[in-house]
């Protein structure tokens, strides 16, 4: 058992050392998932493979569905920061686009892991469904940003619509990225979000129909 870094006891004094790490369990799980399939892998197997009891496993992750999400909270915070610190001169939709694009620039060595992660989230039905619950916070970040710029409450129609639409487009871009072996995620996001900001009124084939 290698020495695990960053295994800081969260708070306070005393108490037993954790026998494993969030990240350890996550990696073991992702291996098994991609190897045997998500549904075919039971939590018992996950726990046993990680050398932890089933009960303990559920103390690290609230549910099997949450395993694939890794440091999503940190991603959220990045997005929130980017938007908080962008200049007020930037139009709302431009800011949103640039923020989403910027937060999806990955280091080359992270890409394989991120592909695995997203392949699970986007393609396994149970995780696809569960994602909705995590995306709520993501949308909230967008809505909270655009709402004051528009002079509307964050829970009103337009900010919510923007948040939903942006999320949808981002997911679509991720799907394309995942489907193409060497696609460039930021580029796909940038393109798709520009389309969104133009209302999808592409000049390409409006009424031409012949080309």
């Amino acid at each position: 058992m290698a020495k695990v870094g960053g295994n800081t006891q969260s708070c306070g004094r005393g108490g037993r050392q954790r026998v494993s790490t969030h990240l350890d369990l996550e990696h073991v799980a992702l291996e098994l998932f991609t190897e045997r399939g998500y549904e075919a892998t039971t939590v018992d197997e996950l726990a046993r493979a990680a050398g932890v009891s089933r009960r303990t496993f559920f103390r690290y992750f609230p549910s099997k569905n949450d395993i694939a999400w890794g440091a999503f909270d940190r991603e959220l915070e990045r997005l929130r920061c980017w938007l908080r610190e962008c200049g007020p001169g930037l139009a709302a939709m431009d800011a949103v686009r640039q923020a989403v694009v910027a937060c999806n620039r990955l280091d080359a060595d992270e890409i394989p892991w991120h592909r695995k992660r997203m392949a699970l989230i986007l393609r396994v039905p149970a995780l696809q469904a569960h994602s909705t619950l995590r995306y709520v916070q993501w949308r909230q970040v967008i809505a909270d940003f655009v709402a004051p710029r528009l002079g509307h409450p964050a829970d009103s129609l337009v900010p919510q619509s923007i948040a939903y639409a942006t999320l949808g487009v981002a997911v679509a871009a991720h799907e394309q990225w995942l489907a193409a072996e060497h696609a460039d995620l930021p580029q796909l996001l940038d393109f798709a979000l520009r389309e969104l900001a133009s209302g999808f009124t592409l000049p390409s084939l409006t009424g031409v129909r012949g080309a």
Copy 2:
């Protein structure tokens, strides 16, 4: 036990009569859900309240989550029809907007049921999550419609983005409708989808900030 109408044996000859109807079970379930809450109502209770065995219940509905969706397939077909029969002169986004709006005009007597249904789907986490899986088909209808008009495959980036964005905006509109007691759903949808088609570039407060 009242005589149930429309209890047509699906196909073929012979065989035992169904003891209940899809619609019967659905109504019983919706009552119990809104009365005791979704999570607090077990399938056993549902089955017993409907006078059916638990096992039989799962022959009517693939899962507890699917109960609230009623005649969703028929709704899908309506949408598909509307889009199929709209003139080619209509711009893609306009057609989509009009189709969605038209398919959400409800008879006054359907509204209370639809509110119950949507309150479950949009507010109960388990159903909120599950909805993602049903929306796949809805998005497919949109993507299949816009794709040929744009000269792209239906599974490519722009059609998928439009489908995702449209769905998102429609859901946002439904949430607003649900939150306001006497809101007009078609009107909300029309407004929000116009915003989408304009890229959310509302002239309202672009840099004004004072009003």
